[in-house]
Chain length 245, copies 2
């Protein structure tokens, strides 16, 4: 039996409930990763989280080629839920889309919503692949929460049913250089909307401007790529209204 502390750097997301003394079954992929790739043996330690119960140190109970189980020892970190922040963005090139999902999960967004705008080129996304990116970001960055990645939805359809109490920070390139708009804003349910590389259409712009929930915000005098804008916008929001205050 090797020292649990030396191997407890492995962090694994599981769906199963976690509690002290709880046995957690492993599926084939997880067993392959822990026992085949990482060479863990009985008694070795792993950190587990499921997005709901915090992080637990767990030790290998049963190590098999096609399955196995871990048993939870003590809770090592409480759940750290993110603020009630959604990130809406128009999917762009694959690498930059992956990057936006990874960064939103790292920085503390509660939900990630790919949206189709008038000028979005992407007709479809691989939701499962993006969700896996969010899981991986949490695994690697010590996160205890994983934001849901929703299906690609038309922005206009989302705006049709937009909750009246959820403010929408709308990053508008055309307002580059104007003052930031969050100074007098209050915390609560919020969303950030990042436009596509080609910008918003005139129709979208008019519609957003007419929404009482919308708050246009400038991200400085330079044109930023959509992935840069996403990270900068989450930073601005987290500092002003989120849990970076």
């Amino acid at each position: 039996m090797s020292n649990g502390k030396t191997t407890a750097k492995i962090r694994l997301f599981v769906e199963h409930p976690l509690a002290q003394g709880q046995s957690v079954p492993l599926d084939r992929d997880q067993a392959h990763y822990l026992f085949g790739v990482m060479r863990l043996a009985s008694g070795d330690g792993v950190l587990l989280f499921n997005g709901r119960d915090g992080e637990f140190l767990a030790n290998v109970e049963d190590a098999g080629k096609r399955g196995g189980s871990l048993i939870c020892a003590e809770r090592t970190r409480p759940l750290q839920p993110p603020p009630d922040l959604w990130l809406l963005f128009a999917p762009i090139k694959k690498a930059r889309t992956d990057f936006i999902v990874e960064k939103a999960a790292e920085m503390g967004a509660a939900r990630i919503c790919p949206v189709q705008t008038d000028f979005t080129n992407s007709e479809r996304i691989r939701r499962d692949r993006l969700q896996a990116h969010a899981v991986e970001a949490a695994e690697q960055c010590g996160g205890t929460f994983v934001p849901d990645v929703t299906d690609l939805t038309r922005l206009s359809a989302m705006l049709d049913q937009w909750p009246s109490d959820r403010r929408l920070m709308f990053c508008d390139e055309e307002r580059a250089g104007e003052g930031l708009g969050l100074r007098d804003a209050a915390p609560g349910p919020w969303a950030i909307l990042i436009g596509p590389e080609g910008g918003f259409s005139a129709g979208e712009r008019t519609r957003l401007a007419a929404m009482p929930q919308a708050v246009p915000v400038s991200l400085g005098p330079r044109i930023l790529r959509a992935d840069t804008a996403a990270v900068a916008a989450i930073t601005v929001w987290q500092q002003a209204l989120g849990d970076w205050r």
Copy 2:
């Protein structure tokens, strides 16, 4: 002769001085790109910038296979110099290092300094390749300035000669969750220092803590990857002290 407006979306960085009526010679690579790849012909328009003189609309004067020239018409944008901000970071994996350089150039850093820390794995970088990334970011994002990427330098050697008037925003993972440190800070020469993936060594931490120029700043309660931290830190600084105010 085609309409200059339709092709003037191409933005090209050149070393040559720019002024109205100025003829600008093209090297072989530039001629290949403009005439071979982009199929420009005599009279077509291109936007030029050199990091010093702003942006000019220029028209093709001479289109050859191995060279050619453009002639500057009117200036389309003034030079927009960044604030006096350096970004110091420890190079990590290639894709994330490229990303940090691209983002720093996009967001308005004046100088980009790869540094070797006690826990940096990278022994060398391709400075010319990173500089080309900074140029490309400016070309694609409408920038008129290109930050210099300096050679890889030991952090300790830089700190030995650190200018007394340049403040150093030091992003310290161990201060995660503490208050941000820029509230009472004043503009002027600044640098941001992003630690390596393995964090700073105890020696580096002690040394930084003893520097009167150093200002420790927290980037929220979550652990961020180095590339995320770089974008978030530039955002925080630009909003508090830079030209996003």
